[in-house]
C-alpha cells in the first residue's frame, strides 16, 4: 500500500513539472517584468542591475529551477496588480472557493446518487422520465445562464436569497468560513446549486446506467433467489457495485468544480480563487495566474491519488494483487 502511494506520488512529479514549465513560460512570453518594474524612465545600467538582481541573466534552466524551488516552498512572488504576496492572496481566497466547491459536490452527490438509483430501478416510471428530462436541461444549459436564471427567480422576483457575495463570514484562524452565519449559508445556496447542477445530472445518469447494468448481473439474481430484501439488494449489493466508476467521475469532477468555479464565481461575484484568477487575467497579473495554474494541477494530482486509494477501499479484488494475496 505504502509502495503504491509512493509510486503514484513519483508519477505525478513529471506532470507537475510540465505544468510548472508552462506557468514559468508565461513570465517570459507575456509582458516583460523588468520594464513593468522600472516604469518609463530608466538607464541601461539600472536595467542591467535589475536583470542581474532578479537573476534574469542566468541560463533558462537555472531560472526554472529557482522558480520550482520557490514554488515548492509556496513562494510565488508579488502580485503585479495588488503588490502583495501571491501565496497570501490565494490563501485568503481559497476558503471561499473550497466551501463553495464542496457544497456543490455535496449537492451533486446527495441528490444525484438517489435520483440515479431511482431512475435505474424504475426506468419506466413517470418520475424517472421527468428526472431524465430535467437532467437533459441541466447538461445542456450553460452554467452562467443557470446562475442568472436562479438569481432572477430567487433573488429578484422572490427576494429570498442574495444575488451576490458571500454574506458574513467568521474567521477560524486563517480560514474564513461562511458556514457559521445565516447570511453566509443563504449566500451559499444559489452558487452551490449553479455549480453542482451539471455534476448532479452527470452523476445521476452515470449511477442510472451502472445500476441498470448491475441489476442484470447473476449475483443480483442470486441475491433475489436468496430472498434478501429489496432494500438490501438495491442499496447494498447493487449500489456498492456501481460505486467504482462513480468514484472516478466524482473525483475528477470535484477537481473540475474547484478549477472551473470561475464562471459561477463571476456570476455571483463570489470572492474565491476563480474570481481572483479572472481579475488577474484581465490585468495580466502573471504571478497570480502562474500560482493558480500550479495549485490546480496539484489539486488534480491529489484528488486522483485519493480516488485510487478509494478504489482499494471499495473493491477487494484490487487489494488481492498487492501483498495480501491468497
Amino acid at each position: 500500500m505504502f509502495a503504491f502511494i509512493v509510486s503514484r506520488i513519483l508519477q505525478s512529479v513529471p506532470v507537475l513539472l510540465v505544468v510548472a514549465l508552462i506557468s514559468f513560460a508565461m513570465f517570459a512570453y507575456v509582458g516583460d517584468p523588468v520594464s513593468i518594474m522600472l516604469g518609463q524612465d530608466f538607464t541601461e545600467a539600472q536595467r542591467t542591475a535589475l536583470v542581474a538582481e532578479l537573476g534574469l541573466d542566468q541560463p533558462f534552466f537555472v531560472q526554472f529551477a529557482r522558480f520550482v524551488g520557490n514554488a515548492v516552498q509556496g513562494e510565488f512572488g508579488l502580485s503585479y496588480r495588488l503588490s502583495r504576496p501571491v501565496a497570501q492572496l490565494i490563501a485568503e481566497r481559497a476558503p471561499a472557493t473550497l466551501e463553495l466547491a464542496f457544497c456543490a459536490a455535496g449537492v451533486a452527490l446527495l441528490v444525484g446518487v438517489p435520483m440515479g438509483v431511482y431512475t435505474g430501478l424504475y426506468p419506466r416510471s413517470l418520475l424517472s422520465r421527468a428526472f431524465l428530462t430535467f437532467s437533459l436541461i441541466g447538461v445542456s444549459l450553460p452554467t452562467f445562464l443557470i446562475g442568472i436564471l436562479l438569481i432572477l427567480v430567487f433573488a429578484v422576483w422572490l427576494g429570498w436569497l442574495p444575488s451576490f457575495g458571500r454574506g458574513d463570514t467568521v474567521a477560524l484562524g486563517w480560514w474564513n468560513t461562511g458556514f457559521l452565519t445565516r447570511s453566509g449559508l443563504k449566500a451559499l445556496i444559489l452558487p452551490a446549486i449553479t455549480l453542482g447542477l451539471f455534476q448532479l445530472t452527470l452523476i445521476m445518469r452515470l449511477v442510472r446506467s451502472e445500476m441498470m447494468e448491475v441489476l442484470r448481473t447473476d449475483y443480483i439474481k442470486f441475491a433475489r433467489a436468496r430472498g434478501l430484501t429489496n432494500r438490501a439488494i438495491n442499496f447494498g449489493h447493487a449500489l456498492k457495485n456501481t460505486m467504482v466508476p462513480v468514484i472516478t467521475v466524482v473525483g475528477l469532477q470535484l477537481g473540475a468544480i474547484i478549477a472551473f468555479a470561475i464562471v459561477t464565481e463571476t456570476v455571483f461575484q463570489w470572492p474565491g480563487m476563480g474570481l481572483l484568477f479572472i481579475q488577474s487575467v484581465s490585468s495580466a497579473d502573471i504571478p497570480v495566474m502562474a500560482a493558480y495554474l500550479l495549485l490546480i494541477a496539484c489539486l488534480f494530482v491529489t484528488i486522483n491519488l485519493i480516488v485510487d486509494l478509494l478504489y482499494y477501499a471499495v473493491d477487494p479484488r484490487l487489494r488481492a494483487g498487492r501483498g495480501k494475496g491468497h
Binding site: 448481473t217 447473476d218 449475483y219 439474481k221 442470486f222 441475491a223 433475489r224 433467489a225 436468496r226 430472498g227 434478501l228 430484501t229 429489496n230 438490501a232 449489493h237 456498492k240 457495485n241 471499495v314 473493491d315 477487494p316 479484488r317 488481492a320 491468497h326
Partner: protein, 325 residues
Amino acid sequence: MAAILEVRDLRVEFPTRRGTLVALDGVSFSIAPGEVLGVVGESGAGKSMTGAAIIGLLEPPGRIAGGQVLLQGKRIDNLRYEQMRRIRGREIGAIFQDPLTTLNPLYTVGDQLTETMLTHLPINPAEAKRRAVEWLELVGIPAAAQRVQSYPHEFSGGMRQRVVIALALCAEPKLIVADEPTTALDVSIQAQVIALLKRLAREKGTAMMLVTHDMGVIAETADRVAVMYAGRIAEIGPVREVVKNPQHPYTAGLMASIPPLDRRVNRLAQIDGAMPRLSAIPQGCAYNPRCPKVFSRCAVERPELMDAGTTQAACWLHAKAMTDA
C-alpha cells in the same frame, strides 16, 4: 407422503411485439420430500425456465399465464413479491450455473452467508457468524474459520460453487432448485460438487430439482427424471427406467446419442434437425418433424403425458395402451 412441490399445468408466456411466445406449456410434475428430480433436455427446452417460474424469478416480460405451483399444498405462483421473497431462500433455495458470477464480488463469503441467515432465521449476528463457519466446513472448504473472511475472487470455481451451495442451503429450505450447478465446472470438480449436493440433500432431507443437460449427472443423482422438449415434458419416470428403457422416441434419441465407452463406434448417433424455435412450434407433437416413428396422428393432435409402461410419455405410440386400461 404429500409432495413438497407440485406443478400443475404450468404455462409461461412471453408477450412480444410479434405475438405471444409460449415458453412452457402444460408442464406438470411433483417432487416428494427428499426426492431428487432430474430435468433434462436440450438448450431452450424450458428446463431453466421451469426453475425460474417456481422460484418466482422469471425474467420480464415472461410471466406465468396458467397453471399452479404448490409448495407443501399452498399455491405460491400468485403470491405478491414480498410474500414470495420470504419463501425464496427460506423454503426454496436456488443454485445457479456459473459460480464465478453468482457471488457478489464486494462482500466476503461470510457476510453473504450471515446476511442470508439473518434475513430468514430468528438468530442473532453472533450465532449467524458461527453458523457461517459451520456451513463452510459442511460444504468442504478447508480452514473455514479463516476463509469466512475471504472474498469470492479468492476462491477457485469449484470452491465458489461450494459456497453457493452453502448459501442456498443455509436457511434450511425444503426444496433446492439447482440450475445446471456443475455445467461451468471442470469435469473433475463436477463429480465432487454433485456428490456434495447429494449428500447434503440426503442429510437435511431436502428435495431437489436438478436441471442439467448432463445425463451422467442425472443417472448418478436423480431418483426420477423429466425429459423436456420445446417447453413440454416429453417423458417422466424413475431414472433407471427412463435411461434403460425410454418410452418416448425423443428420450430414446437422447440416450442413443450418448457415446458408449465400452466399444468403438465409427459414427456417433444423433437426432436429425434442431429443436423448433418458440415462434415456430409445429402443430401436433412438437417432436413430430424429427421423430423416426412419426405417424399421421402426431402432426394433428398434441399428446399429453400418458402411462407408458413404467414411465409416462407424451407420445401417441402409447395411446392404445391408455384406452385399453
